[in-house]
């Protein structure tokens, strides 16, 4: 079938099952926006290319399917670098199409030329500069394959204008449907080594104080069910990192919740005291380990990851298994069953009672607001959690509000938590929530955002309003770049430098309304419930609820950066308790 490169690009995307993409046109990508009119793919017009990237990420987080974004060359390509890096750090499957100046003009500093593949090389799993129209079908097929298999990640495809422009003879081509992939250097290994899995099972059966340390790999591999089986078969407690919130139900008796810098005391301490950590799709991030040399000093390590480079990168494992988390966990369950299942597990009553002792002495807590104080963010989040359906999808920005959300929410379902973990990208919440809503229109989607973050990407609420994505935003207005303020309070002798944002400017309620949303403002505890109820009722437009919160509230527990997890600082009210 004869066609031009632009038509081939749309057809190739359709063949990959793409039904929605996020983007914004411009000169170099312009020819592709014409065949888009004849395509079955829905295009969501964003207000800033960073938004397109985060929407694609949010879509992928909520659905497990690759998110797709399309933008033009030069400034648009550079605008989408942050989401690419974000997706790279958090292993989010995403395909980004960028326009490029005509092939013959590359290297001449042409208008809106930039070295997109050069700039994005270190923040993508792979990228392509397509030089011939005839290559488009295969490159797109390979791009989706690479983005979604192995350790998922972003793939960028840079397309010079001439090969998609029907007025240019270089765009003429004959369509051919790709037949498989010819990628001799890319062979992701999914099945774990059987002997190593047996060794791991043996270590599990010998451990007196084991903990399942589960990361984003569980969600990426669709391994939540396998994890539940493993935990229930062995009776071993589970910590869920920031990237695996929802990968194991918070309401399960074996769930210890989030470990790490702002993890709860029990999750942090159980890992510290463990004699075996079974790391499943987790990467020993510094925010989890604290000072590496003093992390879980007594523990043997079983490390399962599809990415061999993670094995031994931070902590040398005793058993290292390269493979897909779900596949390996399922195998592990099988082997453990053969070895006697629950019967083969040692008596761990003492360990269990230590854990429940920590849970009783050091629950998450905060001081409720006094008469003259503004709202406590934790109070707001508890109410929001209790007033929304159990399967609500929550996206967050980056900062204190993010940590409180992860701490106080009850994630009982996979793919309900959308956040920027590795890169920590302020401004992630609103576009990511829109992407999640686009992928799961049946679900209620709340973004929990900070006042600092909100000001970085609020313009995408226009996209939400005009494209019909009725997301809801809980804006935790503490008048500060709160997380940075907390560090200055604790580690810089309360010398506050460039962290105050002001409480009243901008007027968030008016701004929300100007952006096409309903805007609500809440200042007292009594108003919290009714405002959330009102927001939950609104389904024809986005809603922004500004919660005016105490500025001085800090996130606890906290392991100060570079310190050992054994030195976790608990809430002031718990500091005199025996550890």
């Amino acid at each position: 079938m004869n066609m031009n490169g632009g038509q081939a690009l749309m057809k190739a995307l359709e063949n990959e099952g793409v039904d929605i993409m996020f983007g914004l046109p411009g000169g170099a990508i312009l020819p592709v926006y014409d065949p888009l009119l004849d395509s079955s793919i829905r295009h969501v017009l964003v207000r800033h290319e960073q938004g397109a990237g985060h929407m694609a990420e949010g879509f992928a987080h909520a659905t497990g399917r690759p998110g797709v974004a399309m933008v033009t060359s030069g400034p648009a390509a550079t605008n989408i670098v942050t989401p690419l890096c974000d997706a790279y750090m958090d292993s989010v499957p995403m395909v980004v199409i960028t326009g490029q100046v005509p092939y013959a003009a590359i290297g001449t500093d042409a208008f809106q030329e930039c070295d997109t593949t050069g700039i994005t090389m270190s923040v993508t799993k792979h990228n392509y500069l397509v030089t011939e129209a005839a290559d488009i079908p295969q490159v797109i097929h390979d791009a989706f394959h690479i983005a979604t298999t192995g350790r998922p990640g972003p793939v960028l495809v840079d397309i010079p204008k001439d090969i998609v422009d029907p007025n240019n003879p270089r765009s003429a081509m004959e369509w051919h449907t790709p037949d498989g992939h010819d990628l001799p250097g890319y062979r992701p290994n999914t099945a774990g080594d059987a002997e190593l899995i047996r060794q791991a099972a043996k270590l599990i059966c010998e451990a007196e104080r084991p903990v399942l340390y589960t990361g984003g790999g569980i969600l990426k591999s669709r391994g939540a069910k396998a994890l539940l089986e493993l935990a229930e078969l062995t009776g071993i407690h589970v910590v869920t990192t920031l990237m695996n919130r929802g990968g194991f139900p918070d309401d399960h008796p074996l769930c210890l919740g989030m470990p790490g810098m702002h993890g709860n005391y029990t999750a942090v301490t159980a890992m510290q005291e463990a004699d075996l950590l079974v790391a499943l799709g987790a990467r020993f991030d510094d925010r989890v380990t604290g000072k590496v040399a003093e992390f879980a000093p007594l523990a043997k390590i079983i490390h399962v990851d599809i990415d061999g480079a993670e094995l031994g990168k931070v902590r040398q494992p005793d058993v290292a298994i390269q493979g897909d988390c779900r596949v390996v966990t399922e195998e592990l369950v099988k082997v453990l069953r053969e070895m006697g299942g629950g019967e083969a597990q040692p008596d761990r009553n003492q360990w269990r009672s230590r854990i429940s002792g920590w849970q009783e002495r050091f629950p998450l807590t905060y001081a409720h607001s006094q008469e003259d104080e503004l709202l406590k963010p934790q109070f707001v989040l508890e109410h929001l959690r209790d007033a929304t359906p159990d399967d609500t999808i929550v996206a967050s920005g980056v900062g204190q509000h993010q940590m409180w959300t992860s701490q106080y929410w009850k994630f009982n379902h996979p793919y309900t938590w959308v956040n920027s973990g590795g890169l920590g990208t302020m401004g992630f919440a609103i576009p990511a929530a829109i992407g999640a809503k686009a992928g799961r229109p049946d679900r209620m989607v709340w973004a929990v955002d900070g006042d600092g973050c909100f000001q970085m990407t609020a313009q995408e609420l226009v996209t939400a309003a005009t494209e019909g994505f009725p997301i809801k935003v809980a804006l935790i207005n503490n008048s500060y770049l709160g997380m940075v303020r907390q560090w200055q309070e604790m580690f810089y002798g309360e010398r506050y430098s460039e962290v105050y944002l002001t409480r009243d400017v901008p007027d968030y309620k008016l701004w929300a309304e100007a952006l096409g949303c309903t805007g609500l403002r809440v200042e007292s505890p009594e108003e919290v419930g009714p405002a959330i109820a009102q927001a939950n009722e609104i389904d024809d437009r986005p809603v922004v609820v500004e919660f005016r919160c105490e500025a001085g509230e800090n996130v606890f527990p906290m392991v100060p950066a570079g310190m050992s997890n054994s030195d976790v600082v608990v809430d002031p009210s718990q500091r005199d308790r025996p550890r």
């Binding site: 270190s122 799993k125 990628l183 001799p184 250097g185 061999g308 480079a309 031994g312 040398q316 494992p317």
Partner: protein, 187 residues
């Protein structure tokens, strides 16, 4: 050899590491535009300096063979090899052990060689079985192919005469061949 995950701690004496603190990697990549930048960029990002790099297409032309010499401390090298292996265009990586491989390097050098010392230089050329490539009134150009240490020696001996220009290719290497006959052929 693709780097296989192991449960053991990284040793100080991994294969390919010699006393000079360098490692030789032989990397097969797809012969495509930009692949060299990906490989070199990876080394730069992880803070490694490439000491020498030789690139040429293999027989089929579809792949290229990179011989990379890096100065390196033991532990992070394993990490670099694993990261390198993740590059989509990298097909296979070998760490070459100097004692189990044959290494060659080519050096071309132009020397000051006025007629009074030319004879001495030609003596060295004979001893090293080097080749005279070009002769001028005051200068001489010679080349030597040999093991990197032999090339080092030759260069050091030539230096006092005054090196005008020198270019070394960086080493290339192949694994040594098996010397023992298969069991079935044993006398």
């Amino acid at each position: 050899m693709s780097p296989a995950p192991t449960g053991s701690a990284p040793t100080d004496q991994a294969p390919g590491r010699n006393s000079g603190g360098t490692t030789t990697l032989v990397v097969h990549v797809e012969n495509k535009a930009g692949v060299l930048a990906r490989v070199a960029g990876l080394f730069a990002r992880r803070g490694f300096n490439i000491e020498s790099l030789a690139v040429a297409p293999t027989a089929s032309g579809r792949f290229s063979r990179l011989t990379i010499v890096v100065g390196v401390d033991a532990a992070p090298m394993e990490q670099v090899v694993k990261q390198l292996d993740k590059l989509v265009n990298v097909v296979d990586i070998q760490e070459l052990n100097p004692s189990a491989s044959v290494e060659r390097e080519l050096m071309m050098v132009t020397l000051r060689a006025d007629p009074s010392v030319r004879g001495q230089i030609l003596d060295l050329v004979r001893v090293f079985q080097a080749t005279v490539l070009n002769v001028g009134y005051e200068e001489i150009m010679v080349s030597l192919t040999g093991s990197p240490s032999r090339v080092d020696d030759f260069e050091a001996l030539l230096r006092p005469y005054g090196i005008v220009d020198v270019q070394r290719t960086g080493k290339v290497a192949l694994a040594k061949l098996v010397k023992t006959a298969p069991e079935s052929l044993a006398p």
